[in-house]
């Protein structure tokens, strides 16, 4: 059995054109945010662990450009891009990463657990692969309550080795759930290259479940947006699909990882496929002036600095308030 081909490109190109400036802006917001997070982390202003998705922004920007607010996503430990592209408040995001009471999660989650239910962002996740079955459940609820709405499970190539992927693919296929599996294959699972961990391809795995599979250059925002558009429309109508986005990891597994296990040449190569540079080159050729690009960058930076100022002015969370919130306060929905 082979994966059902989707032949998305022709029909997608016939549809509405991709809004490249919007994709560019979405990617730039993620990039500039993570660059600032790197310095804030180095300066000790962001505690804990952070995992940056620099170099992978096109996946978040491209996929999310085709989702509505009602669509839900389950993210990963490397999830800042997913969160921002899904439309989280930038101030709430920075306040959370700076561990403030005003943060989206009141300073209890941090980078690895940032979530915003109001925009359908069901959480970054510190457990590799765990978002898969959460998205499965969300898709199940959509099918029953909100036909036409979908759930998206983001996962890295590291999660290919998790057994939960099999269970989730199987159930999604059995029940024809509106669930899009988006694998961000950056070639690295923590400190080991994928080829030392994975003995199969996601294409062949998808074929085993007869789930439609597409592979796309994950560093080409326009391609991700175009391909995912039609795939997502198909998922809304008829059931699950897998989209594998080939991308690169620029930074270490976590901030502070010196990547001594990695060839210098490999690190130089990843810079050449930078999705933002590529998008910028296209924009310069066709639509946007240097001044307009600079103005956009200045806008993004200013929004980020503003959010950081707000976060810095925030307060520490209150311990008693946190302790009281382990369970839903009683008096609501209880006998």
């Amino acid at each position: 059995m082979s994966a059902k081909p989707m032949n998305t490109s022709r029909r997608a190109q016939a549809g509405k054109a991709v809004d490249l400036p919007a994709l560019y802006k979405s990617m730039l917001l993620i990039r500039r945010t993570e660059e600032r997070l790197a310095t804030l982390f180095a300066d000790g202003e962001v505690p804990g662990f952070i995992h940056l998705s620099i170099g992978q922004e096109a996946v978040s920007a491209g996929v999310m450009s085709n989702l509505t607010k009602a669509d839900t996503i389950a993210s990963t430990h490397r999830g800042h891009g997913h969160a921002l592209a899904k439309g989280l408040s930038l101030e709430g995001f920075f306040s959370e990463l700076l561990a403030r009471r005003e943060g989206l999660c009141q300073g209890r989650g941090g980078s690895m657990h940032v979530a915003d239910m109001s925009v359908g962002m069901l959480g970054a996740n510190g457990i590799v692969g765990a978002g898969l079955s959460i998205a499965l459940g969300s898709a199940l609820a959509h099918k029953r309550l909100r036909p036409g709405t979908i759930a998206v499970a983001f996962f890295g190539d590291g999660a290919l080795a998790e057994g939960l992927l099999h269970e989730t693919l199987n159930m999604a296929a059995l029940w024809k759930l509106p669930l899009l599996f988006v694998c961000e294959n950056n070639g690295w699972s923590e400190f080991l290259p994928s080829e030392k961990q994975i003995a199969f391809t996601l294409e062949r795995l998808s074929a085993a479940y007869a789930i439609p599979y597409e592979r796309v250059d994950g560093n080409d925002a326009e391609a991700v947006a175009l391909r995912s558009r039609e795939i997502i429309e198909a998922v809304r109508r008829s059931g699950p699909a897998v989209l594998e986005c080939a991308t690169v990891r620029v930074r270490g597994h976590f901030e502070g990882d010196a990547q001594k296990y990695r060839d210098r040449a490999d690190l130089e190569d990843v810079a050449k496929v930078d999705p933002i540079m590529r998008c910028e080159a296209v924009l310069k050729k066709t639509r946007m002036s240097d001044e307009a690009l600079q103005a956009l960058d200045a806008d993004v930076r200013s929004a980020i600095e503003n959010a950081i100022s707000v976060a810095r002015a925030g307060q520490d969370p209150d311990f008693e308030r946190a302790r009281e919130d382990v369970y839903t306060p009683q008096g609501f929905a209880s006998p």
């Binding site: 765990a130 499965l136 199940l140 939960l164 382990v326």
Partner: protein
């Protein structure tokens, strides 16, 4: 009054919850077409249809993980894990996802899911189909754990669990499934975290939950014949547990025995004994004694399993020890 079995009470609670709230959905292995491995959901598919109750593959991790996503997205799932031993396969979804979601997302939402699962030995089911692992779950902030001892509490606690906004594990001793009892025609929903005093007594308090409650009642009857008056408390809920009721009883009897089928070491009784040794220190006239299973896997042979399980004689011996 009518007489119903424990399993029927669970079935009624599921049906009444599904009738009351059409966001309640039930899924798990063989719960729908077969009506449940033990028959707890018999007839529900015919009444509510396959969108409300459906079978899953044998994928415990994804069943529990999906329940978390379902609960975050507007439905109230009730899942069944066929034997409590199999919760090992659901632990990430329970411990890292369901239990923490409300807290770690800053109270943005809750995860109103229920996991029903049978525990308990005595049926010769062997080491991987008999364990009482409720202490693991009661140890996790964010989870609630209930363990009913009879048909009325099975009904009342399951209704409460399904209405509860947070994740609740309902542990059912499978040896009780066939138990019959008289119940009121209108069964009440019971509050989670509230114990019941089943028998008043003066000289010792016996605290337990689930099937062990009946061992305590039998022990209390034997002790009464010997002129010893024992109070019997059915905790009903383990997380949260009704510390106030236990302390109040201890304050009148001054002696405490905690009984459960779970392995004694690091079991729920350890928490109860430790709390009472602390907040009830001034009330104690004797050692707090625990009766639980020995520190070994549940054996298969009746010859071994009989020795393994707590029984009334062990409870009576424990009472004599604290009274000595």
């Amino acid at each position: 009054m009518t007489e119903i079995r424990y399993l029927r009470a669970i079935n009624m609670a599921l049906a009444d919850a599904m009738a009351e709230d059409d966001t309640v959905v039930v899924f798990g292995e063989d719960v729908s077409e077969a009506g449940g491995s033990f028959g707890a959901s018999r007839g529900l598919r015919d009444r509510f249809g396959p969108d409300r109750i459906f079978d899953t593959p044998i994928s415990e991790a994804a069943i529990a993980g999906a329940a978390v996503g379902v609960a975050m997205s507007g439905l109230r799932p009730v899942i069944e894990i066929m034997f409590m031993d199999f919760i090992t396969l659901t632990m990430d979804a329970l411990v890292n996802q369901a239990a923490k979601a409300r807290f770690m997302f800053g109270g943005q939402g809750s995860v109103p899911m229920v996991l029903r699962t049978p525990h308990g030995a005595g049926l010769g089911a062997g080491p991987q189909h008999s364990q009482c692992l409720e202490a693991w779950l009661a140890h996790v902030p964010g989870l609630k754990v209930v363990c009913p001892s009879d048909p009325a509490s099975a009904y009342g606690l399951l209704r409460a669990a399904i209405r509860d906004p947070d994740p609740v594990i309902m542990v059912e001793n499978k040896a009780l499934y066939g138990m019959k009892a008289e119940v009121a025609d209108e069964l009440p929903v019971l509050p989670i975290g509230k114990a019941a005093i089943l028998r008043r007594g003066k000289e010792v308090t016996l605290v337990s939950y689930g099937a062990s409650v009946h061992i305590c009642s039998a022990a209390a009857a034997q002790l009464e014949a010997d002129g010893i008056s024992a109070e019997v408390i059915d905790l009903r809920s383990l997380q949260p547990w009704d510390e106030a009721t236990v302390l109040e009883s201890l304050s009148s009897t001054h002696r405490l025995v905690v009984v459960h089928e779970a392995v004694e070491a690091f079991g729920p009784g350890a928490e109860i004994a430790a709390r009472m040794a602390d907040v009830g220190f001034d009330e104690l006239d004797g050692p707090i004694v625990r009766v639980g299973a020995p520190f070994m896997p549940v054996p298969f042979s009746k010859a071994l399993e009989g020795r393994y399980l707590p029984d009334a004689a062990k409870v009576v011996a424990a009472v004599r020890r604290t009274l000595a």
